[in-house]
């Protein structure tokens, strides 16, 4: 159980990662996925997390999003220590402040595009009328207003990812985590998705941390965080808070 961490927003970095270690297994065969990772992200920043496969990108995103717990170190999202939250606290965090966009889209198959987008709003018990307005707005934002009634199985990969982005934005999260959102898309579609992400970061004022291999994405990011063998290797753009990167 955690000790009732603060969930109030503050004026500092939206995301603050400090000394995070995460390893799998034990003894000589242990795999050190993250080694003393520390960095900050300011509000409204779109950061690209890059690195080779197995470098620790997904593990880092999971730790930040509360899907995994670090062996040591802290992760503050909007001032909330994610590592100290219990299951319910993590659920509240994901419901209110952190949203995911997955490589496999993560849509609920039985729900239509509009219902998928509206799911976080239903969780937040937003009144139906307001929910519908917001869903309509978001679908227009991602260019899928005409596909509102279609289910994921009836949409293309790019369209599904757009729906996933719209759903991620539905509850107005403070932090958007996207794990290789264009990984299953062709180049052209991936580019449009990236552009969309860039656009919504700007329009919604959300902070985004996007892992990607896509150089186009890197180009669209405000910052680039490179990770190799579980360590941060360097950053471009804003200074990583409290840590010099070599």
């Amino acid at each position: 159980m955690s000790a009732a961490p603060s969930t109030e927003p503050n004026a500092g970095p939206l995301l603050s990662v400090r000394g995070v270690h995460r390893s799998f297994g034990a003894g000589p065969s242990a795999v050190h996925a993250l080694r003393d990772v520390s960095f900050d992200l300011a509000p409204g920043t779109m950061a690209a997390l890059i690195g080779r496969s197995g470098s620790g990108k997904t593990t880092l995103l999971n730790v930040i999003g509360g899907l995994d717990r670090p062996d040591s170190g802290t992760v503050l999202v909007d001032g909330t220590d994610v590592t100290a939250l219990d299951e319910d606290g993590l659920s509240r965090l994901r419901r209110d402040r952190v949203a995911y966009v997955f490589q496999t889209f993560g849509l609920i198959p039985v729900l239509s595009a509009a219902e998928n987008v509206g799911a976080p709003l239903r969780l937040a018990r937003v009144p139906a009328a307001e929910r519908e307005r917001r869903v309509e707005l978001l679908l227009e934002l991602v260019g899928l207003a005409d596909h509102a009634r279609q289910r994921p199985g009836e949409l293309s990969g790019g369209q599904q990812q757009r729906v996933a982005i719209a759903r991620a934005l539905a509850a107005s999260p403070r932090l958007l985590i996207a794990d290789e959102p264009t990984g299953q898309l062709d180049a052209e579609t991936g580019l449009s998705v990236m552009a969309l992400l860039r656009g919504v970061v700007e329009s919604e004022g959300v902070t985004a941390l996007v892992s990607t291999h896509d150089p186009t994405m890197v180009a669209l990011a405000d910052r680039v965080i490179r990770i190799a063998d579980g360590r941060l290797e360097g950053q471009l753009g804003e200074q990583a808070g409290g840590q010099d990167v070599t």
């Binding site: 999971n62 995994d68 994901r94 419901r95 496999t104 239903r122 018990r125 139906a128």
Partner: protein, 1097 residues
């Protein structure tokens, strides 16, 4: 391939264990049913045989007219034939024999005048006759009131007359009338047969009183001890008969007397019979008659072997067949359910192995190899299922036999394995394995909505085809013959499973629209949990097999309960109508006056004499050997006495009241033992006599008649026999047949040559006869009630002019004076009988007739018919047609009021009272049946005992027992199906659950969504199943109920839907399913959370 199978079995053992568990249920049920149909059925037959009443299994040989020298050998040979026929059972035999009539030269006190000599004439000039009898086990059949029992060994051998007088005992009336006491020596004259055996002497050593229920009704004089109007067949004129002189059987057989009747009854000891022995004995008994004829040859005139044993066994087989059909129905339903559950399990297994199959296919494994693999795996499962199901079914069967109703029927058995059981289990397991193979080698689905639509289309065709088959089945079931017969059994076995499956398949159709309706409602909701549950329930591609299994299992459970209740109710209804009243005591001998009081004291409640016998209606003797039945009882008390369901919930009160006379009979009270006297005068030149016959009525309505000896109308008072043998009797009728006294005995007018050729005028003679009832209160004269009426009896009633009767009272008692003018000339068959009755002359007797009777005779309300009751024609008028008559279910029968019927008989000159039984309504004593049985008046049957026989007898108990298997088996399969379906569903949706957690749903919310989804689907499916079960109970269950003979039940079965039991069963099903789903969800939701996303994404 085998290595692959072994590895896969190790990896997927929980899945295979689940498949094995499901596959085991059907064969276990089959094995249990096989044991019920074989082991229990055989035991039931044996138990039924061992519990059967003696008269149902006894074998009796009748031989007629056995010459004296042959008597002993005939008896020995007859015993030998019977014993041989009943081999290997131990047999006890009992013989009863009576000789042909002999002259009785000098009855001591038989008549008031004179004494016949060599011709055997009594004082009245009427010939007197007597006979010898012998009864084995006499001491158990009669009570010695004076002297001692006769000893054997006093007779001579063969035709030679005995060296010394045979010892004999006589009945009390015989002793009284002939003035015999122990020590009396009586000479019996020559035989009245072609053999003309010489006279012989007997010495009376004792006086006995026959015990009731000891077979005395088969005595030539029915153990009355005398008959003053006995017709010996040698002349149309009656003679006086006395007897019997009861001697030892050996004496009779060795004494040279011609044996008129020799009756030997063999009773087999069936305490531990086997079915094979019973079958063999039944065949032997059927051939015993021919064998006896062959053995006895010309030593006898007529022989016959009679036994109800073969028909008892045939009836038992009929009942077995009816029960077997119901057990098979349950077995088929169980197999259908198991097949559905296995289809679901197979489909889920295929889903789990889809990736493996795709991989193997990509590696070049063909369908043939898949089929071989699946066959090996399914075969192994079948072997395992058989190995488990055989002992499981044995244990289940043994447990079932130790529970009611099988335990109560004496059918408890230890666990055992039989060949038929193993065969049934193995066949069931192999059949189900074949189903698994078929599912495994089915072409892999491509997925997607297009497939879903194709499935729906195919299903639409399948369920409609099922419905078509079911409709044919129902039609066949509805039109099955009302009589017994095997062709309908197949329909009865298959139709329920077909109808329930079709109904369940059809009932799935409205389930999905219902869920879609919930979906539409959920869209407007604000939250996510319940709407998402509704969306999932309505939109997820539905597993047809799971839905069908849930609906079918629920339908089977509810139908099983409903059918059981319907069947039980029908057994009650059949028992009610079959007995006709609460307690029926069928008399083996005519009742004595006052017997009703004894019955009433034993049972309490409303007691009435009753008639239930075959009759002739005009010239019609019935159809197919079934004589129309006459049922008569005190219908004024119909509500108390009559049982059986009438149509439209109508009671018997109104109907009974319409049949009963409007006024009762008061009569003249006669104190017990009163010495009645008769005084008569006749004005004509020819002296007249009258042989009075009096009819009394006791408090229960029983009427008994008492015949006096011929009384000359000479102006003197003549005492009558003591007729009032019980207290509380009332004189209700007097019959006075007049005859001319020529000095050569009483003769009818038309037959008397002396009348035609004799002196004097033969005109009318005015007669006045006064019957004095001493001790009767004078108030009886003015007592309210019907006035006395006098009438002249047909034929030729005009031969009596102006019959009249008056009642007067005085210090000497009540006098009944009857006057009439007797016309001495006229038709020779004229009755010339005056009947005075304490009721007016009735019109046609109002009767209600059964619909079958009405159909066969063409009768309708208002029809007038003539019934032949005994030898008397009784006019009746049909007032109503009823579905059936109590105690004569389904028969062509007539219901009448016994009082009204008796009145009609009396005014026709027939003072016999047609009574065959005592009926008791609402007996107040708990042990009424036992007490009534202890009266030894005849067999006793009650509604409760008949219901118990029909519903829980050895041959019937298998049906409710099998029905009680159906519910748990269906519930088990339902739970197994739900568990499998939910487990596989959640496993396949683990990533979806993780996504919900990723969206921020708590575990509790996720559980609520999953639970809501599955319960949301369960609810309409269970409701659909219950609706199908209810519909099947209403439409099918009554058609499945048959009587114990396999015929349609009478009255027709009514569907019963026990709301409380059904509601409890449904609640339990829902609770069990919800609990199972909850457990699976909790376990699965604990395993799956947002952390899954870090891997799966």
């Amino acid at each position: 391939m085998l290595r692959l199978l072994a590895r896969r079995a190790r990896a997927q053992w929980p899945l295979l264990a689940a498949l094995l568990a499901v596959a085991m249920v059907g064969p276990t049920l089959l094995g249990t049913c096989a044991l019920l149909l074989t082991r229990t059925a055989d035991r039931a037959l044996e138990a039924a045989a061992s519990q059967a009443a003696a008269d149902r299994v006894d074998v009796t040989a009748f031989t007629v007219t056995v010459r004296g020298p042959d008597a002993r050998s005939v008896a020995d040979d007859t015993r030998g034939v019977l014993t041989s026929a009943l081999s290997p059972f131990a047999v006890t035999t009992a013989a009863r024999a009576s000789s042909v009539m002999r002259w009785l030269p000098r009855p001591a006190r038989a008549t008031a005048r004179g004494a016949g000599q060599a011709t055997g004439s009594g004082g009245s000039g009427v010939p007197t006759e007597t006979y010898l009898s012998a009864v084995e086990d006499l001491t158990a059949r009669a009570r010695l009131t004076a002297g001692r029992w006769p000893r054997a060994g006093t007779a001579g051998a063969g035709a030679a007359p005995p060296a010394s007088p045979m010892e004999a005992v006589v009945l009390e009336p015989t002793a009284r009338l002939l003035g015999l006491t122990p020590g009396s020596r009586v000479h019996l004259g020559a035989e009245l047969s072609g053999e003309h055996a010489e006279g012989l002497d007997v010495i009376v050593v004792g006086v006995v009183r026959p015990l009731p229920g000891a077979g005395w009704e088969r005595d030539p004089l029915a153990a009355a001890g005398f008959d003053l109007a006995y017709h010996d067949g040698r002349s149309v004129q009656p003679v006086h008969a006395y007897g019997p002189f009861i001697v030892d059987l050996a004496d009779l057989l060795a004494g040279g007397s011609t044996v008129d009747r020799l009756e030997i009854t063999a009773h087999p000891d069936l305490s531990a019979p086997t079915t094979r022995d019973l079958e063999a004995v039944a065949v032997a008994v059927l051939g015993a008659d021919r064998r006896l004829a062959h053995v006895l040859g010309d030593r006898i005139q007529i022989e016959r072997v009679a036994s109800q044993l073969p028909s008892t066994l045939i009836a038992a087989h009929d009942q077995q067949r009816v029960t077997a059909a119901a057990v098979l129905t349950v077995a088929v339903l169980g197999v259908a359910l198991t097949a559905t559950a296995l289809a679901l399990a197979g489909r889920l297994t295929a889903g789990v192995r889809a990736e493996e199959t795709a991989l193997l296919s990509s590696l070049g494994v063909g369908r043939g190899q898949f089929a071989v693999t699946a066959t090996v795996e399914a075969g192994a499962l079948a072997v395992l299922a058989t190995a488990v199901a055989v002992p499981a079914s044995s244990a289940l069967h043994a447990a079932l036999t130790h529970l009611p109703p099988l335990a109560g029927a004496g059918l408890a058995a230890r666990p055992a394995v039989t060949g038929v059981q193993v065969l049934a289990v193995a066949c069931g397991a192999l059949g189900l394995a074949a189903l698994l193979v078929a599912l495994s080698v089915r072409p892999a689905s491509t997925g997607g909505d297009r497939r879903h639509r194709r499935e729906l289309l195919a299903r639409s065709g399948a369920d409609l085809l099922l419905v078509a088959f079911a409709a044919v089945g129902w039609w066949q079931l509805r039109d099955q013959p009302t009589g017994s017969g095997s062709p309908a059994d197949t329909v009865r076995v298959l139709a329920p499973a077909l109808l329930l499956t079709a109904g369940s398949a059809l009932a799935l159709r409205p389930v999905w629209p219902t869920l879609r309706g919930a979906d539409r409602l959920a869209r407007r909701a604000r939250g996510l949990v319940l709407p998402l549950a509704a969306f999932e329930a309505a939109r997820r591609p539905q597993a047809i097999a799971a839905g069908l299994l849930i609906a079918l299992a629920c339908a089977a459970v509810t139908f099983g309960i409903g059918f059981d209740a319907t069947w039980q109710r029908s057994q009650h209804d059949q028992a009610d109508l079959s007995v006709g009243t609460d307690l029926a005591l069928t008399l083996t001998a005519p009742p004595d006056a006052g017997q009703g009081a004894a019955v009433a004291a034993a049972t309490g409640g409303a007691v009435s004499p009753a008639t239930s016998r075959g009759i002739a209606v005009g010239q019609w003797l019935g159809a197919a050997g079934d004589a129309p039945r006459l049922v008569a009882v005190d219908t004024a008390r119909a509500e108390d006495l009559l049982r059986g369901r009438l149509t439209d919930g109508r009671g018997w009160t109104d109907l009974g009241a319409s049949l009963a006379p409007s006024t009762g009979v008061t009569g003249v009270p006669v104190p017990a033992g009163a010495a009645l006297t008769l005084t008569g005068t006749a004005t004509g030149a020819i002296p007249l006599t009258v042989t009075p016959r009096l009819m009394f009525q006791d408090a229960t309505g029983l009427r008994t008649s008492c015949a006096g000896t011929p009384v000359p109308l000479d102006g003197r008072a003549h005492p009558l026999p003591t007729c009032a043998t019980a207290a509380g009797l009332r004189l209700v009728a007097v019959s006075l047949p007049f005859a001319a006294d020529t000095g050569q005995g009483n003769v009818g007018f038309g037959y008397s040559d002396s009348l035609e050729g004799g002196p004097g005028p033969f005109g009318a003679s005015r007669v006045a006869v006064t019957l004095t009832v001493p001790g009767a209160p004078a108030s009886a004269v003015s007592a309210p009630g019907s006035p006395w009426t006098a009438t002249s009896v047909a034929p030729a009633p005009g031969q009596l002019a102006g019959p009249a009767v008056t009642l007067s009272g005085g210090p000497s008692g009540v006098r009944l004076k009857m006057t009439t003018g007797v016309e001495l000339k006229g038709p020779p068959d004229a009755a010339r009988t005056l009947v005075a009755t304490a009721f007016p002359v009735p019109g046609p007797v109002p009767v209600a007739v059964s619909s079958r009777f009405a159909g066969q005779v063409g009768a309708r309300p208002g029809s007038r018919l003539s019934l032949t009751v005994g030898l008397t024609a009784v006019p009746v008028r049909v007032t109503e047609v009823v579905p059936t008559v109590p105690s004569a279910p389904g028969a062509a029968a007539i219901l009448a009021d016994l009082d009204a019927l008796s009145r009609a008989l009396v005014v026709a000159g027939d003072l016999s009272f047609p009574v065959d039984a005592w009926w008791v309504g609402h007996p107040t004593r708990a042990d009424a049946a036992a007490r009534a049985t202890a009266l030894h008046l005849g067999p006793v049957i009650t509604r409760a005992s008949e219901t118990a026989r029909l519903s829980a007898g050895p041959l019937r108990a298998g049906l409710p027992a099998a029905l009680r298997l159906l519910g748990p088996a269906a519930a088990l399969l339902l739970l197994a199906g739900v568990l499998l379906h939910v487990t596989f569903d959640l496993r396949s949706r683990a990533i979806e659950v993780a996504r919900l957690r990723g969206l921020g749903m708590t575990r509790r919310e996720v559980r609520a969504v999953l639970l809501g989804q599955h319960v949301g689907i369960l609810l309409p499916l269970l409701a659909a199943g219950a609706a199908v079960g209810g519909l099947a109970t209403r439409v099918v269950a009554p058609l499945l109920v048959r009587s114990d003979t396999g015929a349609a039940p009478v009255p027709a079965a009514l569907p019963v839907w026990p709301w409380t039991t059904e509601a409890v069963a449904l609640a339990l099903l829902l609770a069990a399913c919800t609990l199972a789903v909850t457990l699976v969800i909790v376990v699965q939701a604990r395993r799956v959370d947002a952390a899954h996303l870090r891997v799966t994404s």
